[in-house]
């Protein structure tokens, strides 16, 4: 085989490998577009900004795909990229988060309260009241609620996305649920705890 032909073969192999990597990336990434967009909308509370954030996330993920080793699942990896991109775009949000994390270190886990007339009342709340309430609770609570209840991530996966230990996932989640319930109740004119 001549030198020229060998070089042509190597070039073709490289092109085929690149196409395969791209296909692999698209198979993993594109099915997550709805979930990422929903998460981005809840973070930014602005659909246009969310659209940009998702695009930025995909470009970052694609550029960093060679470094993805499957240590985390692809889903947690790309959610983490999106969240970090969001935090980088909002320095004020980042500062607020540091304060809230400081408070959390000293907090005991909050118990889940059992069924009471009040909780039944919240369970009957309209979806729009719950949606409004999700939008109004502080960002660290909102993001953990979406990751857990909508994305159905495990505590461990949430820990990876948010970069926090499992104990903090548990306490923040418990506090987020109580706050969400209180805000939803207030919207329905019920007692606020």
């Amino acid at each position: 085989m001549s030198f020229r032909n060998r070089r042509k073969d190597v070039g073709e192999e490289k092109t085929a490998a690149a196409a395969e990597t791209k296909r692999e990336f698209e198979c993993l990434a594109l099915p997550l577009i709805e979930s990422l967009f929903n998460f981005a909308c809840w973070l930014t509370r602005n659909q246009e900004e969310a659209e940009d954030l998702v695009q930025e996330t995909y470009v970052k993920a694609w550029n960093g795909f060679v470094t993805f080793r499957g240590k985390a699942t692809f889903r947690t990896w790309i959610f983490r990229i999106l969240r970090n991109a969001f935090l980088s775009s909002r320095k004020d949000v980042h500062a607020a988060r540091v304060e809230s994390l400081d408070e959390e270190r000293h907090e005991e886990f909050l118990p889940h309260t059992s069924e009471t007339p009040e909780s039944i009342f919240v369970e009957q709340a309209s979806l729009s009241a719950i949606r409004e309430a999700i939008g109004e609770i502080p960002l660290p609570m909102r993001e953990i609620i979406i990751l857990r209840e909508v994305e159905e991530m495990s505590y461990q996966e949430i820990g990876v996305v948010l970069g926090i230990p499992i104990g903090t996932v548990m306490s923040r989640l418990a506090r987020a649920r109580l706050t969400l319930r209180a805000v939803a109740l207030a919207k329905l004119g019920g007692p606020r705890k």
Binding site: A18, K22, F25, E26, L30, I33, E34, F37, N38, C41, W42, Q47, A50, E51, V54, Q55, Y58, V59, W62, N63, F109, P111, H112, T113, S114, E115, S119, I120, V122, E123, A125, L127, I130, R131, I134, I145, I146, R148, E149, V150, E152, S154, Y155, M170, L173, A174, R177, L180, R181
Partner: protein, 77 residues
């Protein structure tokens, strides 16, 4: 486990994120404790409502093609 400890594990119990031994212990507790059983059922309903409410924003299929083009461009750089 006490009722308080059981209730703190309801969420992980519902998603079966606990070791088998703990899952069995909670199941056995729920079988005999009306209050905890009601609490678990309440959390399950509340979680379902949040899930429905939280799936709010939807992206158009067209955006997938836009993204594919974007990746194509990023790949060429």
């Amino acid at each position: 486990m006490t009722c308080g400890k059981i209730r703190r594990k309801f969420d992980q119990f519902l998603s079966k994120e606990l070791p088998d031994a703990e899952l069995r212990e909670i199941e056995s507790h729920l079988a005999g404790c009306v209050a905890c059983r009601a609490g678990a059922a309440s959390l399950k309903r509340w979680k379902r409502q949040i899930r429905t409410a939280g799936k709010r924003f939807s992206k158009k299929t067209q955006s997938i093609h836009q993204l594919a083009n974007l990746l194509e461009a990023a790949g060429r750089r």
